[in-house]
């Protein structure tokens, strides 16, 4: 399955790119994170502490235990600071 992965804020800076398209067989978000973390030192560092990260599947907030299902766009980012 092909998934577009997006990164925002300091996560984007650590990984060094705002998006990448990956081929994955991951069942859950956590599975996908494990695959992504293995891609580079920057990725590993960025995903070191999942409690400080949030995830959205197809632009809806989700969580790391959730199944990827048919999501086409997976976004990772720090807690939001709007307003």
């Amino acid at each position: 399955m092909q998934v577009t992965v997006l990164y925002f804020a300091w996560l984007r800076e650590r990984i060094g790119q705002p998006r990448e398209v990956v081929e994955t067989g991951a069942i859950t978000v956590a599975d996908l994170v494990a695959e992504l973390a293995a891609r580079s030192e920057g990725h590993a560092l960025a995903f070191a502490d999942l409690t400080s990260l949030r995830v959205a599947l197809d632009q809806e907030l989700s969580d790391f235990a959730a199944p990827l299902a048919a999501a086409r766009e997976v976004a990772f980012f720090p807690p939001m600071t709007g307003g």
Partner: protein
């Protein structure tokens, strides 16, 4: 109900006037405007990153929820992204309801959700460099009252 996510500055007074001019039955209008604080002169600029597409969807969902829950006649959310200078308006919420309690509650509800559930990230640019603003536990806690 209107949601605008934009990099351009906006005039909160003009927005409020236009918002109120469109009302027919409301007795109460509440606005909130968030301004860039200069942190005692140490802040040169603020940069706001967002997630185009999700931002608009997330805010529209919040506004719909507020409208249903508080019986709003109208609601408006404007939120900027990009580079902002001290004293500039970051964002604005306006709510209109028959009575004041609902107008106030809806504005606070929207603010609490915008703070922690809309995909914006603030970075403060100062003399010492750039620092991402950390989310506050108090902002997450504020959501529990709704």
């Amino acid at each position: 109900m209107a949601v605008r996510v934009q990099s351009a500055p906006f005039d909160a007074g003009a927005e409020q006037a236009q918002f109120a001019a469109g009302l027919r039955q409301a007795g109460a209008v509440v606005t909130f405007t968030g301004l860039v604080r200069d942190n005692g002169g140490t802040l040169a600029a603020m940069e706001i990153e967002h997630y185009p597409g999700m931002t608009e969807r997330a805010i529209a969902a919040m506004v719909e929820q507020a409208q249903a829950r508080f019986g709003l006649e109208a609601a408006l959310v404007i939120h900027r992204h990009g580079r902002l200078l001290p004293q500039e308006a970051i964002m604005m919420v306006a709510t209109a309801a028959p009575h004041r309690a609902d107008a106030f509650a809806a504005a606070e509800f929207l603010m609490d959700y915008l703070k922690s559930r809309a995909p914006f990230w603030k970075k403060e640019i100062g003399a010492g460099g750039a620092v991402w603003v950390a989310a506050k536990d108090a902002d997450e806690d504020a959501l529990r009252r709704w």
